[in-house]
Symmetry: C2
Subunit: 361 residues, 2 copies
């Protein structure tokens, strides 16, 4: 198996660079396995050349980094030995002229301070670096999905008259954390017409018999890997219109899954897969889906590939992504169903396994 | 009272800019009061000229933004109306030549895509924008501190033989969230020699009678404003060496607080305040504090002013910051005591009020 580090070094050679500076936390986790750095503040960089790899971090991390990241040489950053100074030294030592960096992550100020001294530094698109998952990674995502499925079972029992969106969101988070995991994003819980807002933030709204729609969108982060799932259940018997919405979304999702069987996955344009769900929902007289039909997932809850109308991504074996069509009628309500699949050699395999049958509570 | 928006507009005039592009979520919250945007993904920009202000966000936010941000004109970003296109139109409309932006927040790629077309765009240091707090803001921080103090009372009862660091960290988070607030950062819980690592991540380590040190560092986020506090308590009677460490840290903190009484606060260099604690701890034969003695706090848990040896910040009335000296002896243990103060006209006022007396459990 090609290690993430070897994969990156291939990229360095392919781009005819001398080295690459890694700054984004997900890529640091991917390349080192170490997840102790904050996402809020810049705490570390990796500098990777064709035949050496360094981690630059301050004194707080030296102890843990030494034990946990054995393949990297550690350079302690301090007021006496700044990142700038360190990069200057490494530039000389490794004769680095052409340096790649993550333009989507490095700030304007960091670029100015750290990178202008390099003869030739350029933005590298590393978006695809993590898009094909190893079997180990797929197993980690599967485990996160399993806890997600368990969470769904648990939360169904908590959906009762008078409960608030915030309370359910809290219960989801509580259950996940009690099981030693983290949430991969803030859970979305939306009752009634709030379910028509795709990114609704849980409010103090309490569940009534009139609401009917209960949309739950949440994910687990376990061993650095994320899950993501959405279910829309009904509190009381849905009207025929509500039922039709549900069945249309479910059929749209099923059509996407089937389309991944039929086509040769080696040249499946992600945008065409998006189109399968989008067109089906349009054909049933609903508005187009106001978001993309799916997104890759792994260390980040949103990463490549992107299943959207403008995507240029090609779906390949080993990719893991969501399929999440939805119908949203402002002032009335919305339905979204979201599952994760992994593309295997001959077919897609669902990683989330909670029932997709219409549930009436 | 000068509103945050008026304060920013003064800055535009002072810098002889025509407008400023705001991208960081804390500054968006500060200027609009709206906190619905993700910190993980770029979801909004503000464009502020001397006499107009716009918010650029996608369709998901249009509904809530309209009601919640009345003073801003809303521009919906979509695949048909990109941020780039919108900025181009606003440039023409308001004859913007000189545009300020947040160089510490805008990425290299965003700068290239969005800002190179402006005749003159330059990084604006907005670090000091939020450093002087209004009385309303101070009240919000005080309320967050009050819940922090309550959390400390609660967690003391949970410190028992065999409990793990992770369990206590979870209990802290659970208690804060149950009270309708959020954590301002992941709680640090460190037993025994782990307390010698200033940024220790809670582990599965269980408390034993040999550990003695129990270091707790946590904060509350309530109504967008953060608190932050640290206490080190003893599980069993401390040795005389441990007791001396505690007393030294407490005295160092007390000296800092007193120094804020003595000096005219209108020209108190933050680095001199840092020095008060640093020198005292050195004078008692310990190593220098491996972090800064304090940091401003508000919408962000770390913001200006910075109380560190290299800081150029001047402490002024209305600033709120932490005072958190510490002594760390690798392989043995550490003590840190952290409280928040607000600089009032004639003296500093503590916002955290949990006892700082040595606690033996």
């Amino acid at each position: 198996m090609i290690t993430p580090l070897a994969r990156l070094k291939e990229k360095i050679s392919k781009n005819k660079s001398d080295a690459i500076l890694i700054s984004s936390v997900p890529n640091i986790i991917y390349l080192t396995g170490y997840s102790g750095f904050s996402k809020e503040e810049r705490e570390a960089f990796l500098l990777i050349t064709k035949n050496a790899q360094y981690i630059l971090a301050d004194g707080r991390y030296i102890g843990s980094a030494k034990t946990l990241i054995p393949d990297f040489k550690l350079i302690e950053i301090s007021s006496k030995n700044s990142v700038k100074e360190t990069l200057k030294n490494l530039k000389t030592k490794h004769k680095i002229k052409k340096l790649g960096f993550e333009g989507n992550n490095i700030t304007f100020s960091e670029h100015k301070k750290l990178l202008t001294r390099f003869d030739d530094s350029n933005h590298q698109s590393l978006e695809s670096l993590r898009s094909i998952k190893s079997s180990e990674e797929i197993l980690k995502i599967k485990k996160a999905c399993r806890l997600g499925d368990k969470t769904f079972d648990y939360i169904l029992k908590k959906i009762k008259l008078g409960v608030s969106e915030k309370e359910l969101a809290f219960e989801i988070e509580f259950f996940i954390k009690k099981h030693g995991a983290d949430i991969s994003f803030r859970p979305i819980v939306a009752f009634g017409k709030n379910s028509a807002i795709p990114h609704h933030q849980p409010s103090y709204k309490r569940l009534t018999t009139k609401d009917k729609f209960v949309l739950l969108d949440f994910g687990v982060k376990l061993n650095n890997y994320c899950s993501d799932m959405t279910r829309t259940v009904f509190f009381g018997k849905p009207t025929s219109e509500q039922k039709k919405m549900y069945e249309t979304v479910l059929a749209a999702q099923q059509k996407v899954i089937e389309s991944l069987h039929d086509i040769s996955i080696y040249d499946a344009m992600a945008k065409n897969v998006d189109k399968v769900a989008r067109d089906y929902i349009l054909s049933k007289g609903y508005e187009t889906i106001p978001h993309s039909v799916g997104h890759g997932i792994g260390i980040d809850v949103h990463e490549a590939p992107h299943l959207s109308p403008k995507s240029k991504d090609i779906l390949k074996e080993g990719m893991v992504f969501s399929i999440e069509p939805g119908i949203y009628i402002p002032g009335f309500g919305g339905v979204r169903i979201e599952d994760l699949v992994v593309l295997e050699k001959t077919n897609p395999r669902l990683l989330t396994t909670s029932t997709r049958d219409l549930i009436i509570l």
